[in-house]
Symmetry: C3
Subunit: 174 residues, 3 copies
């Protein structure tokens, strides 16, 4: 009856590229129960505003899970074949892991080990951040490296990968 | 007789990606009267040099209109079915609007309301700026957001959208 | 017997996009003798680490040439039809030329004059750096301009051009 997205989908894009809206569309089209995993921490007003605006934009047919760090545990816990899960976004998760001094290699390994076993339709949104000038700040360079490495890992096991610009999806894989 | 570009074309690209040259080619190929709307303000020598170099590169078969702020009014005024109009570029327009404290939402709305009614071949060039690290500067973050939002709006009503890198166009829509 | 890559290949991508690995794959698939031209200078520990890690990742069936400045001379010297040469990367070469105050226009001209005459399979890797916010630092802006100009020049004479994101190649030309 319900249409399941074929495995994991990675949606990459820049700031304000329309990547979240496109990813939400994939979940809606799946016809499955809509779950939203928000990795963003509302640590200031600007962020609180963005999160509130995103929530309003999505409407109320979504179950929201706020989880800045334990993405892998959350996905394991809420996974079910009648659900589509949108994770928005991987780059904020990476930021939070770095801020808390977590072992990113271990987290990435746990996520990539989990992906092939997820029964839900899973759509992962992430920011492409590696196409500007090398940042002067060392932490920003490390963040860029972590994000890029994670994108490669996830893309390798994803069924579909999209690059979104100006609201338009470009299929890179699938 | 003359070949008209099919509606609005959006040409996105990075710095020195060849986007302006590609966009100029679209206008030249149209066979229509060539009009150039320059949104850049020559506020320093570096900028004056760039503008002069661009003008020399284009050659003298173009009518140039310098308009940092009233893009919508200028397009309305110079619109004609025997013309192809190149706007270079939207991101500089956004910068100028921000500098002057204008209402960007209103300007974007006016532009998107105008686009379907333009009778000229219209080619809009813009910088994709959202694929690097989140800027530390709040104004830069806002600029990125405005630019991204505008790209989505224009892309939605454009007939063709290109992403240019290394001088090579990648068709995203059309 | 051996399979030669059809002329020059340009591989563009962001930081940690998987561009080097993809480029290495092209060289390995060619079946030719593998030569690696490293343009990076190990001026600090972070860089030394990256270079060492890259070398370990490649394995020992490669002949490595370290050349921060004289890329054109090195390519002329090691060129041979039974070889595939990987240059990693053009953007570090541009950085080094700028640091040493070299004439970049002359170097770019020499490289583009050489490319059609190279008998080896040649794979050039470079960072796309022009898709973020305009850098505040003038040298960074100049670097971005030089890199963009070089990419256009090389892409124009390359047989194949790829844009790599998340480890996935997108063919822009060829």
């Amino acid at each position: 009856m319900s249409k399941k997205p074929p495995g994991t989908v990675l949606v990459l894009g820049g700031a304000r590229s329309g990547k979240s809206r496109f990813a939400e569309g994939l979940v809606v089209e799946s016809g499955l129960d809509r779950h939203y995993v928000a990795t963003g921490l509302a640590f200031d007003d600007e962020m609180r505003e963005r999160i509130a605006r995103h929530r309003t934009d999505r409407g109320d047919r979504w179950t929201t899970h706020e989880e800045p760090l334990d993405l892998v545990g959350t996905l394991s816990r809420i996974d079910a074949p009648d659900r589509a899960i949108l994770v928005d976004c991987l780059t904020l998760w990476v930021t939070n892991l770095m801020m808390e001094g977590r072992d990113l290699a271990a987290e990435f390994e746990a996520l990539t080990a989990l992906l092939p076993n997820v029964s839900a339709g899973l759509v992962l949104v992430s920011n492409e951040v590696g196409l500007g000038i090398v940042p002067e700040n060392r932490m920003a360079r490390e963040f860029r490296d972590h994000a890029g490495r994670l994108h490669q890992l996830v893309a390798a096991s994803a069924a579909d990968v999209y690059f979104v610009a100006a609201g338009l999806p470009l299929k890179m894989k699938g």
